[in-house]
Subunit: 422 residues, 2 copies
């Protein structure tokens, strides 16, 4: 019999220690969002292939794991579609849209949804990139007001503070922008709407190539030098305590819906009064966010000193409507769960037992059944008092057994023979 | 764009209310087993096709969802194997064996493992049978003593008592038997080893066709009438408080390893002192358990008044060894998670809030940004005090909005306008 003991390529087994960290973080996420009135929901791992290939998934649509129909074997002249009509989900957004379309009448409005689940991508495996990984998405559907942004950002900042304060980190930066401001700035500089997407792709490289790099890239693409100069000079005005209304007022306000800059300031002021003072809120006109489905506010959170984001999202008011044929405002945050786990491990996260005692009874197998009964009675008492207790046979190599137990947090380890007093 | 809003056939979306029940039960399971020193572990949803088709899965091997290789399209003359080299797991036992083989040196011994995860079977969907469902498996690997059985049964009985006492149920029956006793009884009656499996399949129908039905079926199969009569008369001696050693001593003891009946009594006596007195422990020589991989003790738990089991398992000392080429004792319990959920729903399980207040602020969207700030400050205070608070826009159809919130447990619902005092 052929048997392969490693997991499928690019996928992970989790040992008890890693599981404790993952479960602990998942619990903190659940607890925090619950306080803000979010409800957990869940969809199946598999989705109809039609939904997965509906152009909402961008590049991820190339990475679908297709699942073969039951009992379908290969036959001559068969098409791939006949063989596989579903696939593993590559994100939690497409399933959320389907879920909302399917259950709209049974759901509260607005729906404040928390999803935690695995997604699968047939990506080239590499360090820190897996073919199965856990995603956490938080979405508010049916709230077109800025209350959605405020609740999402405040809850997420709170959650990150709770998690990372366990490894001594409390400094985060929330970057905020708005797709409409991005567009207004481009319009103000003199770019045409057809040029926006291309310009934003180059702008998005700012943190890698710097402002001068962006300028050169734009000039390389033969955009009008005056437009490029006017555009680049906008970003030269940025200071860390930049207020959105002030910035837009001096520059692109004429190209912008009037309420947008004021809303941004209200979002930032409201969030500021809800979160830990060590979390900075920054209006950041360089923030782009890749996905084209965003329609309004966009945001990212990074840990100070790390040059990548650990959570990001924004408003996407048109996506769900496309499935339902009626407008449905929506705003969401995606948490980089695996990234958070990696950072916590790197920073030496240690489990806290919450004061629970861990006790092990290692029982000599030759003990009389009365002694066994006595051990189990004692174990039951200790468990009822809240201790963690394990009863197991005393191994021949007791030294190794005891070391392993100690590594797993057991502090009281007792060998039991027939004549041992408990 | 074609878009299908229902989930993939045979699979479920979970609404917030159902998720709260599922999460609550999962939490109780995790908490209870943690007290007994079990650690959570996790394996990927996908497994190598070789492992899934290694004859450990029985009938389930016919129900594998095969996953196509990345980017592999159908080509002329291709074999199914070239197209799909992995599949979705149909149980948690095969992955556990692979996991243990892969990580043996990094795991404590014995390993007390708790797995909670989804499995997939391309089964014909029907009421209560799904193509994706959650399984909970608890296994002790590397403990050949009866301490494994005692810990498993006691922990599982305790867990069920905790869960079901919330709907007023505390009466369970634990049925215990041993594959070696089953065989000894058949040998004592005069059946040959080749006949055992067939005899046990008929015996397993006892709860449906009764003892006389089993007798007739055996006679129909033309087994020797004396053997059938001797076998059937064994079961006539069964009383609810039957002790194993007494029963075997009067009957099949000569065909049995000497320690087996005494061990059964010790298991039962030890478990009895660890669990709620309303849980009955019964030595039940009619218990068969379908899977052929069991080698010793077998057990099932049923709720009194329901004629099916909600948890079952046993000792399987040879299975893991087949993968590792060295003997590894193992004993496990499988919890019927979906069945438990169904029963709790049928019995009208109601969420308890643990005394947490649920407060909703419904804010008129025309309110000034200062009022919004005030609401969010108030919400933050209440959340810090431990309340669940949601802030959302006041909908035009406020009546429906309020009803939905009440249905979701919100008791304080406050409409907020610009001039509302908070």
């Amino acid at each position: 019999m052929k048997f392969i003991s490693t997991p499928v390529k690019g996928m992970n087994d989790f040992l008890p220690e890693e599981m404790r960290l993952r479960e602990h973080v998942l619990d903190l996420i659940k607890q925090t969002y619950a306080t803000y009135g979010f409800s957990q929901i869940e969809t199946p791992a598999m989705e109809h292939i039609e939904n997965l290939t509906g152009k909402q998934g961008g590049e991820n649509e190339k990475l679908i794991f297709r699942v073969m129909k039951r009992g379908r074997e290969l036959e001559k002249g068969m098409e791939t579609g006949e063989l596989a009509d579903s696939g593993l989900r590559y994100d939690l957004t497409v399933p959320l849209c389907r879920y909302y379309a399917n259950h709209k009448n049974d759901l509260p409005t607005p729906l404040k949804a928390l999803q935690m689940g695995n997604v699968w991508r047939a990506d080239k495996p590499q360090k820190g990139r897996f073919r199965q990984f856990t995603q956490c998405d938080i979405d508010i559907i049916g709230d077109g007001s800025i209350m959605a942004e405020i609740e999402l950002i405040a809850a997420t900042a709170k959650m990150l503070t709770r998690i990372f304060s366990e490894v001594g980190i409390r400094e985060f930066t929330v970057h905020l922008n708005d797709r409409r401001i991005l567009k207004a700035m481009a319009a103000y500089a003199g770019f045409t709407p057809e040029q926006y997407d291309d310009v934003f792709i180059l702008l998005d490289k700012m943190d890698k190539i710097g402002l001068e790099g962006v300028k050169e890239s734009l000039l390389d693409k033969e955009y009008a030098p005056e437009a490029v100069e006017k555009y680049i000079s906008l970003f030269r005005e940025i200071t860390p305590d930049l207020k959105c209304r002030e910035f837009c007022g001096k520059t692109c306000a004429a190209y912008l819906e009037e309420k947008v800059p004021g809303n941004m300031d209200t979002i930032m002021n409201s969030v500021a009064c809800m979160i830990d003072p060590s979390v900075r809120l920054v209006f950041d006109p360089t923030l782009v966010r890749g996905m084209s489905y965003y329609t309004g506010t966009i945001f990212e959170i990074s840990i100070d000193g790390y040059n990548f984001s650990i959570a990001g999202g924004g408003r996407y008011d048109e996506m769900i409507g496309r499935f339902l044929n009626q407008p449905v405002p929506a705003c969401g945050f995606s948490i980089g769960f695996e990234r958070i786990i990696t950072i916590l491990k790197d920073l030496g996260w240690k489990e806290e037992d919450g004061g629970k005692k861990r006790i092990a009874f290692l029982v000599d197998e030759k003990s009389a059944s009365e002694k066994l009964l006595e051990v189990f009675k004692k174990a039951t008492l200790l468990r009822d008092e809240g201790s963690i207790v394990t009863v197991q046979p005393l191994k021949k190599n007791a030294k190794f057994q005891i070391e392993t137990l100690e590594k797993n947090g057991y502090t009281e380890i007792k060998k039991v023979y027939s004549d041992t007093e408990l």
